[in-house]
Homo-oligomer: 375 residues x 2
């Protein structure tokens, strides 16, 4: 009891509310199963079917959402009964070991932890990962509310914003230009622990490569244009997308995305803006539908005569499939993708270095951002 | 001139000395070539041959070093003349654009920058990467002195040490427990910009996986044992190895390495302790020969009955090759590797979670560190 009290003193009211909410929703699941037993109903839960056929692009909200099809986990079958048993073990573990003690574990650890669950043990990690996704859908909460961590954490950011991060050792107030080293502020796995204090930011640039992120920091682009630079590190982690989404939604800061000029990079942009098929249930938390693409645009390759590589057969196939992808259903994208198929070339964002180290920050970005109406 | 003055005011004396040293050594190369022209000698430079045959494990210093074989870059051949021309362009660029302006660029950017060098343009990035390695060997300096950055930067650390990082925006004093978020201090690409102010650390644990690094932070292991936790992120980056080396050498803090229990992870340990064949010229900067391996040891797999996977054929081949690798030439390693070949199993460090979330920090690590004489 005294242990619980001392834990309570170290966490904020907001965190306590989050923990209570998660506990409440998770208990809702077990109560439902319990009441089904009492009512002599075979225990079961329904949740949206997560097959590709049941996921559609919502034209209104511009993100991926689930359709109406449902799948059932029911104790009528041995497989279903095992799934429900494992779910209750997981709920029990999350409430007692995570929420009540304000601790967490990785998805990998959860898989090992189940060794103590006897016949409810997971047989491989994808099984426990899927179960946590089930719990996200059932509760309508992100797994971060259950204190489930990914194996590796997010990327870094750099810009005119002061945040307060709630850590296990107390709160830390950090200005993301003045209080950090040259590599930036490391975004924690649980972005809900961050409170925004104040900022001077006019816009956010999310950047695919570490090289370009470092270039913009070195050239002082964040200071000159009051920009928050976020390093995407390729396909961005959940925490990175959530951080961008929160700054956009809560602070009203416009979001732009700067990647290489190839079909895979356009998908990085799309995952920031529209979400991903495999995490459709998280679109409302993760996707920033207003995000705008800066480049590298195929038309930039032509205009600036950038150093290029030839498109591979795989690149061409990916571009063709983007032509029928609802996320790229606009005149702008159709024109750019067709141009790229025509010139058969792709370019990296660092190719701007061929014009000098300042070209990208003195000329390219200011011109593009002006065209886009951002500055 | 006034530009150079204002730059001068923003950088420390130490940084100025580093820049002057780099300029001096690089100019030495071009002076040598110039004098060869004056003396009517065909310009040439010699450097250690970087073939596998010319690299040996030094039993005394316990790191990889080059042998006596040399290879020559000489203007006698067209290929050699091009190499020398490219070298002088690179030296010119580094001195004028990096050192004199206190700026830097990535290896990828250098490749694009050479577009402006006419016939001295690089044809692919491995060519420019190799040239920078040549310059490291010729000058005896790490490429960080030339302000050459890698594409992605290093890992994070967390522990009782206060550092001062020299950034372009001035110096930043950061305590690596008190002034940072939950994810730790992001190690910058150039560790020479860091000054150690004070610390309470008894030892360093370099940790392979993000999951285990987060576990030790959450369990407060760094506080309880005065340990600096360094996340290796798999095979560690140069900056991560250099940071560990500097803390070990300058502060006298013992280094331990905690990885998964498989042959690939033993190589991660070896790269921290002994360096890597492909960067033998950097061993003295990067390798920490006193580093000790904590585990996961094959004997731990047996003793703690950890959850395991079967060794694959590739694992077995890698273990066999380690039996003849001079870095694993000790009774301890021979015994452990033979045991593993015998039990045919491997285990991840997160498998300790099967014994509870505190087992690794309350029991396993304290016992191992006591056995090793560290605590």
């Amino acid at each position: 009891m005294s242990d619980e009290k001392s834990i309570d003193q170290n966490i904020t009211d907001q965190k306590k509310q989050q923990n209570a909410l998660a506990k409440n929703r998770l208990m809702g699941l077990t109560e439902k199963l319990y009441n089904q037993f009492l009512d002599e109903v075979v225990p079961n839960i329904s949740l949206p079917s997560r097959t590709k056929e049941n996921i559609r692009y919502d034209e209104k909200s511009h993100v991926w959402v689930y359709g109406d099809r449902e799948s059932e986990r029911s104790a009528k079958t041995v497989k279903g009964a095992f799934q429900l048993l494992k779910s209750t073990h997981a709920v029990d573990f999350i409430i007692k070991n995570h929420l009540q003690q304000d601790r967490g574990s990785t998805l990998r650890e959860l898989y090992y932890i189940s060794e103590g669950w006897d016949i409810a043990k997971f047989h491989e990690q994808p099984e426990s990962d899927r179960l946590i996704e089930d719990l996200e859908i059932i509760t309508g909460l992100q797994r971060e509310y259950f204190h489930m961590r990914p194996e590796e954490d997010g990327a870094t950011m750099f810009g005119p914003i002061r945040i307060r991060e709630q850590t296990k050792r107390g709160s830390r107030t950090i200005h993301c230009q003045e209080d950090i080293g040259e590599s930036g502020y490391q975004i924690p796995f649980n972005v809900e622990n961050i409170e925004f204090l104040d900022h001077d930011a006019k816009f956010i640039i999310a950047i695919e490569t570490g090289g370009m992120y470092a270039r913009l920091i070195e050239n002082g682009f964040d200071e000159k244009y009051n920009a928050i630079l976020v390093h995407l590190k390729g396909q961005p982690a959940r925490s990175t997308r959530r951080m961008i989404k929160r700054m956009n939604e809560e602070l009203g800061i416009p979001v732009t995305v700067f990647t290489d000029g190839d079909p895979w990079s356009y998908r990085i942009f799309a995952s920031v803006a529209y979400g991903a098929i495999k995490s459709a249930h998280l679109s409302e938390f993760m996707a920033t539908p207003g995000a705008q693409f800066i480049g590298v645009q195929p038309s930039d390759i032509v205009e600036y005569e950038l150093s290029t590589d030839k498109l591979t057969d795989k690149d061409v196939a990916a571009l063709r499939s983007e032509l029928s992808d609802p996320r790229f259903e606009s005149d702008y994208w159709k024109e750019q993708i067709k141009l790229q198929l025509d010139i058969k070339k792709k370019a990296e964002q660092q190719a701007f270095a061929g014009k000098g180290l300042d070209f990208v920050t003195d000329k390219y970005l200011p011109e593009r951002l002006t065209d886009m109406g951002i500055i």
